[in-house]
Symmetry: C2
Subunit: 235 residues, 2 copies
């Protein structure tokens, strides 16, 4: 919809059905992408390795090599592991979806799909990957804070946090190693001159810890002082 100003993004399309291929290629080109095509899994893998694209659109059902295997190969090869993959699948079944994502695909579309939607997903995925790639990120062990998209990931999985929990954890990550008194957290997280009880912080810490699972120990209590964020040994 809005072509990039600089170099156009390069998409590798791995698809055997000529009709789908033409439709998708046409629309991708129209949207300002540069497109390379492969008609079977092996060729696709080869193309991805020789000229790494910015993103791969991969059909699940392919001759020569199954889409799943192509995806797995891509993700296992260091040179191509970072390339986002969108799977195309004819089966609208949930199992396929889950399997696709477990294989490392970053998104999937179920045929039939609208080209418009595919474009949107490609743009969103590229944006997402680039946000994660740019310097706007704070990594502390298995914790990744990405302010650009308001997300904190733990071991690669997005944490589902409420607004307060997000702010709390973000602040603790920034001030890791420092003991943060409850008053300070109230001030900076709850905002200017809040009226809430100091113990409320404890409750939110509990909720936060429960969402951190095995890493709950990274939020330590300093009796009489406050809380510290510090990587725990248990991983």
């Amino acid at each position: 919809m809005a072509p990039e100003a600089g170099q156009s993004d390069h998409i590798l399309l791995i698809e055997d059905d000529p009709d789908v291929l033409d439709l998708v290629r046409y629309n991708l080109n129209k949207a300002g992408f540069s497109v390379t095509v492969a008609r079977d899994g092996l060729a696709g893998l080869k193309a991805a390795r020789s000229t790494p694209p910015d993103l791969v659109v991969l059909d699940l059902m392919l001759p020569e090599m199954r889409g799943e295997d192509v995806c797995r190969e891509l993700k296992n090869d260091g040179a191509t592991a970072a390339i986002p993959v969108i799977m195309l699948t004819a089966k609208a079944q949930t199992e396929d979806r889950i399997a696709g994502l477990e294989l490392g695909a970053d998104d999937y579309m179920t045929k039939p799909f609208s080209p418009r939607e595919l474009i949107l997903r490609i743009e969103g995925l590229l944006r997402r990957v680039r946000s994660a790639g740019s310097g706007d990120k704070l990594c502390v062990g298995p914790f990744e804070l990405d302010r650009g998209i308001f997300e904190i990931r733990l071991d690669g999985a997005k944490l589902e946090l409420t607004a307060i929990e997000f702010k709390l954890l973000a602040m603790m990550m920034e001030k890791r190693g420092e003991t943060l008194p409850r008053e300070m957290l109230l001030r900076d997280v709850w905002g200017y001159r809040s009226v809430v009880d100091s113990r409320t912080v404890d409750t939110h810490m509990r909720r936060l810890r429960s969402k951190l699972g095995a890493h709950a120990g990274s939020i330590e209590t300093v009796r009489g002082e406050g809380y510290v964020f510090r990587l725990s040994q248990e991983s």
Copy 2:
């Protein structure tokens, strides 16, 4: 509590009461701040101009020159306007508080106050100002997006936004000038593969617009396409 690693922050304390002065100076020093003292308003103003501090702690009742006037002078002088000011006031009345903030004070404390609380406020204010000063900010006309503290200000006033509204506005500010289709907003704001209706976006845009007041026009509707963020003329 946790002294800065680098250069210690410089606080200018303008206070005439010797008892309060000693108490505050002692605690500030203990907290790792370097402190300069002035005993009346004129001297304070002079000190601030000759050696601009990182922050000013200012008593409201002073000989020679009223605290209000000192504050106003500081804020009107380009050289000192950016320095955060914390007011100390003996009167626990709301009117004083509001007046203090309207004069440009960034925070205030009512006597008697705990030194600990003052330290926390100073640290919070310094942090806040620095977050705003660092490059982590996106300014579009009267709109300021500060990801560091999850805040969007409009004409200097903080907007009270929900999580979704914040993400929506942040994204629109980043993509200002581009028409954003509802599907894209759903994808990127609501997250991965949301199940909500497309019209829901409209409702949130309405709520957002109502919070923008006179600047509601900055969110334009593009019939059949989506929404654009673009500065409106009405200011």
